[in-house]
Symmetry: C2
Subunit: 846 residues, 2 copies
């Protein structure tokens, strides 16, 4: 303020005004929190320049907070820390079990009790904690993420509560030593991290409120999850793409790579700092021969692994679903378990722990090894069966577990595979945070090792090529098997890349690729992936994939599958028509056409909007008004009533207001998105009726009961009259550009468009005329083959096999239910931006 | 026939009829070519059953031909063979040069002549052959494939001629020893293979005629191209996705993996069978330490490589474009070169060969090594600078080239990098089939090696960690540099994966990922990728990418960029309106609205359709009819003319028919898709007029000249009258569902939808009312920042720098020209299926 006073006050005032004006403009772009430089300019002192500079820097940083890479670095950092800490805790928990088990070796019974009690406590705690804090945290999380990335909002899946439940629950579950994985939950945890970080960052800039951006960030987070779980950035990105996306924007690619690489880097650097490792290397480092990794003539064996893994993977998915369905169908079991929620996890844990008790049956299946140790022993490149190498063999503590005085290595491996197979399928049904990837990976490695050991026994001198002896490396077979089986269960090819990054060697690339592709080919034709299977079990909304090269899809057209009898309203519709449509049809949106003759599609209106229109017109407010008018008229006719009567009348009115609150107010405001979980539990029709506006019917009855003094006939007459009026669409949000298809659009293209844009329905038009509607339900029907088109029953090959497997889930009733679910999640399915200032945009874009 | 005669003839006849009926039904699904089983059934003989079985098998196989995997296997096989044979020929050609050069070592001048003449002949032949057979074969091919996969049809790019030209031309070009690559051309060759295979396979089944399927197959082919070029299936798939796609359908993923793996497998198996290799291994096998690949403290050096590569990559793209633009702008040079087409390649070859002549300047840049040998020497894990290892060093013949008595290794490496840098940028502008990937890869490796050697010289004992000495591996740096620079030039992350597969080692994964991501970050902010640069140079239609995290994109809305003054026709339009719209507007499609008042969008009509409508109504046919009528009337009035006059009149008519053939018939049939190349050369307005229907104007004049006997006034009157009639849209193909946006759709979402669906324009509607249109041009303008939105000039960061680089290409005039190009390629831009039976579908879906 000092320098300014030399100038004239008028000039100063003008300048000040100009500055304020400019400031106002400026503030749109710069965060308002940063301290004003202007203020500093008026201060005196030595370090004013420094402080101005600091403020500038701060301002610059603030403006940069909106940049993607800051977010991605933060995400990577947080996830790496979470991953590292969790790994540390899990390792501690597993060590504790070993320590207990080792310390009690004097008494087998005590040993057994310790061995069994420990996991039971952990699993029960995990299940209980998850159930109390956030039931959404149970299970893998990948199916939910797939649904969310498709555009459906499952809001409770991305909250802080869920994060806590998932992290704590997963740590305990994995610490128990049960065959559970951490990949799926890590995807979920990373997504939670990203969602929370978005929320946190939105304090700094508005860009984090943009929904389509958040979805891009979630996609990157999925990659980070896998990436820092296995320290496999490339595999992580690819796996997350394959597992969660249908269409992938290549421009988002770098986000995943950037965040996953950073995360994997920090994750491994932490290990180096913690003195676990000398430098950054792979998690399960292998040391296979580089110059002659495998013989060409070994390829058939690798192919056999691939095909067998394909069948095995399909069986695993089937078994997993079978267990879930069995538990659900058996009502007595179900009821009992519902009451005692912790009993099922505890029982399963007791069963699995007992069987793997090392002095008991566990000695035949290397029960004392943890998952990690098992994998390390499988990936070892020394042969277990050769006679000459017994000294070498005994040297390694992990490999020693596979050596049993009474049993052959092959027998032990077979027992291990069979036992772990059903154990894993069973354990992954527990209501704790857990994934299926790692257990399957281990089983695959065991199977590969089995084949490898057999080959080594069959060709003890290796397969001869030109005199040089290259012995067979069973570890290579284990790697191939692991990639193939996990690829088959998850329907992904990128497990191959994950395996390269996990082992740090890429020398077996061709056998692995061949096995993975074969396994995928077999598994995909038999069963859905484990994640799709869970999606179906949980009845999340989904769109089935088009199978491998079923070219019938190119010949089916929309006109074959569309619903021709479309519910619509016209510009001239009366409120009665509106009411009827709302009563009859369950559709989430109703088409608006110009007139019943022209049928020109003008747009679509959401159900909630129509309900609002109706209740505005014949709802409580207007009805009360009418009654008041009527009363007033009667008063003037019948002469003044006693003043006592006035008291109860007011009372009545208030009571009425409360009693009809539910039925008349609810439809008036747009239905807020409900959590999916409770929705899933509803029976389809019982509660549905609540949503149908009951203003005209039930509301009327209420009115009649509540106010006997007003003539019922009169109200009814008034109502009838009101219902016959033309609808006034002025205050109604109309989506003017609902997606339209042409009747000859092929099923293939329709599927592409639906999955590209995340649609749930599209209108079929012909020169602007509405002629039909296609929704997800019709599309699903057509794809899954339960529709007859042009006299030919279109079924993908092996569909019958698949049906028998999912007979409980893929029935028509489920389809309708799912469809209703879709209806309920109105407007959330399309990647539609949430405008920052909702008030000005709502009336136009929605 | 024998067995049947025992039955009664009537029964037999009935049976026969039933069989024929059923046969007819059957035949719809089974290829009609397969010999009839029925015929065989009547034959007698021993092996009838066998033959029936064989026929069944054949039939089964035939029906399977439509399956994707058969196609993919064939594609992989063919490409592997092509790749192997080409590699073999290239190696032969390179050997021949070495042999000549070695044989003439007595005389330096002769040696020099041989050294220079050989590549000049090869390159000239390659350029000439390409120019004569198929000029489209010149260059990389990836930019064109990107355009094709976006949905634009560049038909001549996928013909047998182009295939031959590309294969022969590429073999010769690479055999010359110039710094040229084969990756890009291989993508093109694989796509050519796929297209030809599709054509070939369509003999067996109709499925190969489906266009959207063919595009899927082309995407797979791109992966195969890269995959079998480097024996890198995973990297190939990822690279091809990053380079060619904007949105990627995950369901097509497996196709790429399947075909690329098979192809890479066969490619490497051929090498084994040819006794080049003992078993299947990587192409450039490295032997780095597995247990301690690099120290954490080396990471800054890797980061420096990444950042420097980013700048280098941008510079390379800039230099390449600069050379092309310089050659184009210098009109005297241009004219001269146009005449002597082979002179430019020859001159460039002479220049490059002379500089790399080993006894001359070549001794300072390892001129005698081929690209492959150079790479092998770079990836060597022994240090060149250490004193103690000189014996080791001299041992390897390739590494010896880097040792010069007068010059330091560092000096030689720097000279190599600088020389190769501009040589590669220059060589890739030659009109021969060539890519830029491999030269850049080699330069990157050289740069990495330089850094690595410097590090090794700086820390001769390695960076100390805990007493153990791990010397620095310069080969690792070379690998990092190669991945980083090639990633920067192509804007891809997957070069990292390609490098892993090329070297067979993944131990350096983190340094490589970090370097590649940094290089990409730098390069993407400075320059477009080499492929996008070529797209702009060649002026192919494109949609720019949204940059990294420019969140202004979320705040711009369609209403800010749309064109509000939309040309439309209404249902009540007269032919005059039609005519005017066709004269004024250049748009490819015209919006059809209900009426000018309601503005309800009913659909869009293609320009060609309108032209057809117009010419049907006031075209030659109708005009002749009218004239005939008029004549007849006059005849009846004026009395009978002499019979001689009948002769010339008919003559006249015939002559007229021929002379106006062009102007009146052409617009009547839909304009066939024209090749892009000639279209590019046109000036924008000169030829445009041809497409505007000249029926009413010029056609009329023709008529007047041709038939003086009919009154001109009368015809004009008739014409005016005809033009004032209402348009009859009955026979017009209307697209009833053009893509619609809402005015508040964000730029980000619009871009997504445009690139997802391959649109070139979309209408903006508000409750069914047409209020604007957005085309690629507006979108490009908005993204590239040459538009002022809400008073703020939206420019991506560093756009000014980019502008100065592309000042010649990104100007407004180019934009308009490009836009017109889009207009011309009407209807081809969307993945719209070509229905198998065009006749029945055309009238509905187009």
């Amino acid at each position: 303020m000092y320098g300014r006073y030399t100038q004239e006050l008028g000039v100063y005032a003008r300048e000040e005004a100009a500055r304020i004006r400019e400031d106002g403009r400026h503030r749109r772009f710069i965060s308002e929190r940063s301290p004003s430089i202007k203020l500093l300019e008026y201060e005196k002192g030595r370090c004013v320049k420094c402080r101005i500079c600091a403020v500038h820097c701060q301002r610059f940083l603030m403006s940069r907070v909106g940049e993607d890479w800051i977010f991605l670095i933060l995400l990577g950092l947080v996830m790496a820390l979470v991953s590292f800490v969790m790994d540390f805790c899990i390792a501690l928990l597993l060590q504790a079990q070993k320590w207990m088990y080792g310390g009690l070796d004097s008494n087998v019974i005590l040993q057994y009790l310790a061995w069994v009690t420990y996991p039971v406590v952990l699993i029960s705690f995990s299940a209980g904690f998850t159930h109390i804090v956030a039931p959404q945290a149970a299970g893998s999380g990948i199916p939910e993420m797939k649904t969310i990335l498709r555009g459906v909002v499952l809001k409770e899946y991305l909250t802080l509560k869920t994060f806590v439940a998932k992290v704590v629950g997963l740590t305990c579950a994995l610490g128990s030593g049960l065959p559970l994985g951490k990949e799926g939950p890590f995807v979920h945890i990373a997504s939670l991290c990203a969602a929370l970080l978005c929320k946190f960052m939105s304090f700094f800039g508005g860009i984090y409120e943009n929904e389509s951006r958040n979805i891009e960030m979630l996609a990157a987070a999925c990659a980070v999850g896998v990436g820092c779980c296995f320290a496999a950035p490339i595999g992580g990105v690819l796996f997350s793409i394959e597992v969660t996306s249908t269409f992938f924007a290549v421009r988002n690619y770098w986000r995943g790579f950037f965040a996953a690489t950073f995360s994997a880097f920090i994750f491994r650097v932490l290990a180096v700092w913690n003195r676990d490792e000398e430098t950054i290397t792979a998690l399960f480092k292998t040391r296979f021969r580089l110059d002659f990794p495998f013989d060409l003539q070994e390829l058939p064996a690798f192919a056999v692994i691939g095909i067998a893994s394909g069948f095995g993977g399909a069986l695993f998915v089937y078994l997993n679903r079978l267990i879930v369905q069995f538990m659900r169908k058996q009502k007595t079991i179900n009821k009992f378990l519902m009451k005692k929620r912790l009993l099922y996890p505890a029982l399963v844990t007791v069963l699995i722990s007992t069987l793997s008790f090392p002095p008991g049956f566990g000695q035949f299946m290397a029960g004392q090894l943890t998952q990690k140790e098992t994998l390390v022993s499988f990936f070892d490149n020394r042969t277990w069966t050769k006679q000459g190498m017994t000294e070498d063999f005994n040297y390694d503590i992990h490999s020693a577990a596979w050596k049993h005085p009474q049993a052959n290595v092959f027998v032990i491996l077979v027992i291990f595979i069979v036992m772990k197979f059903w154990m894993s399928a069973l354990a992954t049904t527990l209501p704790v945070p857990c994934g299926a990837f790692m257990p399957v990976f281990v089983i695959g490695a065991a199977f590969g090792r089995l084949v490898g050991e057999s080959m080594a026994a069959w060709f003890p001198e290796g397969i001869n090529t030109d005199g040089t002896i290259y012995p067979i490396v069973p570890g290579g077979y284990a790697v191939v098997g692991a990639a193939a089986l996990s690829g088959a269960v998850t329907h992904t090819v990128s497990t191959a890349v994950i395996v390269f990054e996990l082992t740090g060697q890429i020398s077996h690339i061709l056998p692995i690729m061949i096995a993975v592709i074969l396994a995928n080919a077999v598994a995909q034709s038999l069963q859905p992936s484990i994640y799709d299977s869970i999606i179906r079990i949980k009845k999340l909304p989904y769109l089935p994939e088009l199978g491998w090269g079923h070219h019938e899809k190119y010949n089916i057209r929309v006109e074959d599958i569309m619903v021709r009898n479309v519910r619509y309203i016209t510009l001239n519709s009366t409120y009665r028509d509106l009411h009827e449509i709302l009563l009859i049809a369950n559709l989430k949106t109703v088409a608006l056409v110009e007139s019943a003759e022209s049928m020109i599609l003008l747009g679509s209106i959401e159900r909630a909007q129509l309900q609002a229109l109706l209740s505005q017109h014949v709802g409580r407010e207007r009805r009360l008004e009418f009654i008041r008018d009527a009363e007033r008229k009667r008063v003037s006719v019948v002469s003044t009533p006693s003043s006592e009567e006035g008291g109860p009348k007011v009372n009545h009115e208030v009571r009425f207001q409360i009693s009809t609150e539910e039925s008349s107010i609810t439809p008036a405001r747009p239905i807020s998105p409900k959590p999916l979980k409770p929705a899933l539990k509803r029976t389809s029709t019982a509660e549905k009726n609540i949503e149908i506006p009951t203003n005209s019917g039930i509301g009327l009855k209420n009115l009649l009961c509540a106010r006997p003094q007003t003539d019922a006939m009169e109200i009814e007459e008034w109502e009838e009259q009101q219902l016959d009026e033309q609808v006034n669409f002025n205050n109604c949000k109309i989506d003017p550009a609902p997606f339209q298809l042409v009747e000859r659009t092929s099923l293939h293209k329709t599927h592409t468009i639906f999955s590209l844009l995340g649609l749930d329905h599209a209108y079929v038009t012909s020169i602007g005329r509405l002629i039909g509607v296609v929704s997800l339900r019709e599309l699903r029907k057509a794809i899954e083959g339960s529709m007859t088109v042009k006299g030919v029953k279109v079924r993908p090959p092996l569909a019958s096999f698949r049906d028998s497997g999912t007979s409980g889930t893929s029935s028509e009733s489920e389809a309708t239910e799912l469809h209703k679910l879709w209806d309920r999640h109105s407007g959330l399915s399309i990647p539609r931006e949430q405008q920052p200032n909702a008030s000005d945009s709502d009336d136009k874009s929605q």
